[in-house]
């Protein structure tokens, strides 16, 4: 690690004013310290936000608010989450390890950086780490890379599981910027596609803090599933994952949500497949057709063609799990 100064902010105001240009916020530290040890992140100072930000989960009739400092493990045992938003807990439980989930914060999870092997290898060209240097993955090892939404500048995927569930449930990210202005960003607009600016993962303004996540009330609690396919059974990032949620009434689908991890630079929503399912019977044939609609037109890279059929199968299985 490079030397840095360390400050603990007691309040949001102090955190915002303490955040100089070359400073970075630190929450659980599970992603940032890893990147600092590898000299990928090189902040000159750290601002500890662990006490400045809320670690409370509050719910009312409109939905639930999750403070940015709520630890990932807390979300897997909270009664309101388990009763009304179990998809969140299911997704988190497939990620990382119990130790890491105890440390990881909600805000940090959303802002965690890609696991592209070249992003981590400081000797390799990588547009995300070093803009303009090139992308090693496009012609190199792209087995884990994106199959949709990528650009010729970057084919990385967003590694979070929790974010796939948040995307499926139409969450919003509540932020406060340097000038203390609060703003709400819809989850679907929070993370970016790489385009010509692969060094930017998301639309959080410079120096802004995530204060909380809000999820509007929904009727998906009874019929939802998170399916994650990975190289080993546990403690590995997704090759492909699917968050599926159905609102059923008498065998008919009133509303459907489908989102995936491991396929794009951001958690990906399958809107067309969701529209197809709306009003249909919850049958295997319809699930298969929805999966077909999702994968239609996907163009994988040189070494990740397997993800297309894997995704098709994962969508069908996740939808079946919703109704079983």
């Amino acid at each position: 690690m490079r030397p840095f100064t360390f400050n603990k902010a007691e309040s949001v105001t102090k955190a915002l004013s303490g955040k100089r240009e070359a400073a970075q916020y630190i929450a659980g530290g599970t992603n940032l310290l890893d990147l600092m040890k590898k000299h990928i992140a090189q902040p000159e100072s750290l601002v500890d936000v662990t006490t400045a930000l809320s670690n409370k989960i509050e719910s009312d009739k409109n939905g639930i608010r999750i403070g940015a400092m709520v630890r990932n493990s807390a979300l897997t045992v909270d009664k309101n989450i388990l009763d009304d938003f179990p998809l969140i807990a299911k997704a988190i439980l497939t990620g990382a390890s119990p130790q890491i989930r105890n440390m990881a914060s909600t805000g940090g999870n959303i802002l965690q950086r890609t696991r592209c092997p070249y992003f981590y290898d400081v000797t390799a060209p990588c547009n995300k780490r070093n803009p303009g240097s090139g992308c090693s993955a496009i012609k190199g090892d792209n087995r884990m890379s994106a199959i949709i939404g990528y650009s010729d500048q970057c084919v990385a995927v967003h590694p979070s599981d929790m974010c796939v569930a948040l995307a499926a449930l139409d969450a919003s990210v509540e932020i406060i910027d340097k000038d203390q202005k609060k703003k709400s960003i819809l989850f679907k607009d929070f993370h970016r596609l790489p385009g010509d600016t692969p060094h930017l993962d998301n639309n959080l303004p410079d120096g802004a803090l995530i204060q909380s996540i809000e999820i509007p009330q929904n009727a998906f609690a009874k019929n939802c599933a998170y399916l994650k396919i990975r190289d080993r059974d546990s403690y590995a990032f997704a090759l492909v994952s699917v968050a599926a949620a159905l609102e059923l009434s008498g065998g008919k689908i009133r509303a459907a949500r489908l989102a995936s991890g491991g396929v794009a630079h951001k958690p990906w929503r399958w809107y067309e497949a969701e529209d197809f399912l709306k009003g249909k019977e919850a049958t295997l044939a319809n699930f298969e057709e929805a999966a077909e609609i999702a994968v239609k037109g996907i163009k994988p890279l040189s070494s990740n063609g397997y993800k297309v059929s894997m995704l098709r199968g994962a969508i069908v299985t996740a939808l079946e799990e919703c109704v079983n």
Partner: protein, 196 residues
């Protein structure tokens, strides 16, 4: 003029003329120089810390970069906690922070004041081993023993959290602790024994 001053003056002259020359050197070389310079001129920041480990208070000074793992091993000679990967991937460095299992290699020492840390050294009461330590001995929950302190700290939490309903559940909730010797069966048995 002291030796020290003349050295830094010479260093200054050298680096500035070098910097001027650098204006004509390609960007890649220049950035390498910037990298090197930051190593030559480190400005490490040492801060005072009050920490509580195994119910004992310590008042120490540490570089801000010190992880809890290095603080334990290098500064406090509590070498029971092991360094495996140093990147959050193996679980060898597992300790309890305020009673919950966490990775000391991804925790900054600067962030633990006010928290209670328990390491493998704090698990036994005098000569009386913790039931989980006894179980590991009885069930052969290790071979070389390197991963064992982390396994035991994690196993104690696994039982406390109630994730011992089945072998599959134990394996899932112990997946953050790798064992190169493959002592997994003994580890699962130890946990089942304590959970009973």
């Amino acid at each position: 003029m002291s030796l020290n001053q003349s050295f830094s003056r010479r260093f200054f002259l050298k680096t500035t003329s070098f910097t001027a020359a650098l204006a004509f050197i390609p960007k890649g070389v220049r950035s390498i120089y910037e990298e090197v310079k930051r190593f030559i001129v480190p400005s490490k920041d040492v801060i005072p810390l009050m920490v509580s480990i195994n119910k004992k208070e310590y008042s120490i000074k540490a570089d801000t970069r010190t992880t809890l793992l290095d603080l334990l091993r290098e500064d406090l000679q509590l070498t029971g906690t092991k360094k495996g990967c140093d990147h959050g991937q193996c679980g060898a460095c597992t300790v309890h922070i305020d009673g919950e299992r966490a990775l000391s290699c991804l925790t900054l020492a600067a962030m633990i004041p006010g928290k209670e840390i328990t390491t493998i050294e704090g698990l036994s009461e005098g000569d009386k081993l913790h039931p989980m330590q006894e179980a590991f001995l009885e069930c052969d929950g290790f071979q070389c023993g390197y991963c064992t302190p982390g396994q035991i700290m994690s196993a104690v939490s696994c039982v406390k959290e109630g994730h011992t309903g089945s072998v599959a559940e134990i394996k899932e909730f112990m997946s953050g602790n790798l064992c190169r010797c493959g002592a997994y069966n003994g580890i699962v048995e130890s946990i089942q024994k304590v959970a009973k």
